[in-house]
Amino acid sequence: MNNKSQAIFFHDDEHNISHKRNTYELEHWISHLIFIAKEIDYLHKMCKTDKGKECYFLKIELDRNKNKNKQLISRLEKYGKSRDILNECEDMECDRLFIHHHEIYRSKYYRFIAEYRAIKEKLFNLIT
């Protein structure tokens, strides 16, 4: 995180503040997803024991989530890079477009997290 360029200043207008906040948020989403990639490997190992069909299906779901997670990380990273041209925005329309895109990525992130959480809960219920 480039704290100097991303700090909120007195001369920032509402759009600038929104963009800076969205950048912070995006960075946290990506670091959370990177953590999930590591977590999935551990959960996979926990499911290795003989727990029958349920465990087998959970492992398949975990693999599917791992792929989805990887795709989401790369999408968010691409989106993060595309935000570099934010400073070149000259009108409100351009600013709003970026804010709108951010909301689309937000819903994608939340949807993935909810799905992943449901699988994790199933797994915890199985092993406890």
Binding site: I8, F9, F10, E14, I17, S18, R21, Y24, E25, H28, S31, H32, F35, K38, E39, Y42, L43, K45, M46, T49, K51, Y110, R117, K120, E121, F124, I127, T128
Partner: protein, 130 residues
């Protein structure tokens, strides 16, 4: 007349920003509540499998951090709601900075939770689960 319409515009922008902050704050609170529920699972797994003092201690520490962060964010939520209801000033830099401070608080708590879970999983992977 002109002054009134300017004041209305200022209040509208301010309400919009505060509502946006409140929405984001709601997500943070939900995430911390989910972390809390996950800690319950971790505690059960710990009692059944690992059962060591060090993990029990870090589990307690993590739960404490999570509870404190939740309390602080709940307090902040009340403050924001009050500002939204009673104050008629612009959305100033102080409010924006306060929100960023709370963001840092949330992110630090969440990151500490990640680190705790990784060390827990590392320990757990040394055991054969049932």
């Amino acid at each position: 007349m002109l002054l009134n319409s300017n004041l209305e515009k200022i209040n509208e922008t301010k309400s919009f920003f505060i509502k946006k902050d409140l929405l984001e704050l709601q997500h943070w609170l939900t995430k911390l509540e989910e972390n809390h529920q996950e800690l319950d699972y971790v505690q059960v797994i710990h009692q059944q499998i690992i059962q060591d003092t060090e993990t029990a201690y870090s589990l307690q520490q993590e739960r404490r951090k999570n509870t404190l962060a939740l309390a602080s964010l709940c307090k902040y939520e009340q403050q924001l709601k009050k500002v939204l209801e009673y104050s008629y000033e612009v959305y100033d830099l102080d409010l924006a900075h306060q929100h960023e401070k709370k963001r840092v608080e949330f992110i630090n708590t969440d990151k500490s939770f990640f680190a705790f879970k990784i060390s827990f999983y590392k320990k757990l992977s040394k055991y054969n689960i049932r």
